[in-house]
Symmetry: C2
């Protein structure tokens, strides 16, 4: 039931927004009482936090596997993380939109907890850039801190415009991002 | 008075969110009656639309100047538009946050109007990439459509993390974006 409440709430939050969705709306949709809701979640706030946590913790788990994969060089790790992020947006678009749009409706404690998770993801990403520089795979003059914000900003923003059923697949989009990030668009002679 | 209502509403929407701000909150802050509000805006919805329009129309006007500037080559135009976008985020951070966060609270007609403006900005950007390819400044194999989404996504996302009072200025950030977009991070021998 907890999973079901989460799933249906994600639908509602995506359609109407977090603020304009009431617990009543959620339980009406599932056909249970408010008591059932409160058995699993202390509040709508706790539910929103759990949606964020569920999304981010799975991302972090997958990211960790990529970090530890000794068969990949740093360019391959970069591509794998880009692909991970785009795939999550493809597979869990509604949840992704809530995670990117409704963060501001988290209360202070929950917001801090979620910001820590996001920061962890970003710093892991930065570590790949730094180690890639050390290994001679990336240009040693790059600002790995700013570039982590920049690249993740670009990739995350796919949630807004990327249509997984469109002409370009998640794999192709990830390859295009990687090519831009590695080579840029300058014409070389 | 219209300007004042807009300015104070931007403060409130930024702090509390659009949904959780009432017209009463707005008029209380300014010390006028609801009648005054309704003299200038039919509804909170119209006010939100006007905030979006005001932000986007000024961006489009500045963008047009850059497009028509014959003294600049396409790389310079690219940098000028990146810098324009980052500077707006720097100078009008609150308004930028509303434009990026509260779009979903626009009703259908207003949303369509705003989406048209955003699309206009994106297609103008794409035109720079295309003409730059034709002029031999950018690599002719790039997907200018996807790259327009990608680059604007990256640059716009600065609203979320860029601190104009921090270590990096808007100019420096724009230069870093340009360098990434032109050259990439691959180590060249």
């Amino acid at each position: 039931m907890k999973e079901k409440i989460m799933k249906e709430s994600i639908d509602l939050f995506d359609k109407k927004g977090f603020s304009d969705t009431s617990i009543q709306d959620i339980v009406d949709l599932i056909g249970v009482t408010k008591g059932t809701f409160y058995y699993y979640f202390k509040s709508k706030q706790e539910l929103l936090r759990d949606i964020h946590l569920s999304y981010l913790e799975r991302l972090l788990m997958e990211q960790k596997k990529i970090l530890q994969d000794e068969s990949k060089n740093y360019k391959e790790k970069l591509l794998a993380i880009i692909h991970l992020t785009v795939s999550k947006i493809k597979d869990e678009g509604k949840m992704a939109r809530i995670v990117f749009r409704e963060m501001r409706h988290l209360n202070e404690d929950n917001l801090n907890q979620i910001k820590m998770k996001r920061k962890e993801f970003r710093l892991n990403f930065q570590q790949i850039l730094e180690e890639g520089v050390q290994q001679g795979e990336f240009n040693e003059t790059i600002r790995t801190d700013i570039l982590s914000f920049a690249i993740l900003g670009m990739v995350n923003r796919s949630y807004y415009w990327f249509n997984p059923d469109g002409e370009i697949s998640a794999e192709e989009l990830s390859d295009l991002y990687l090519k831009l990030i590695l080579e840029g668009i300058d014409r070389r002679s």
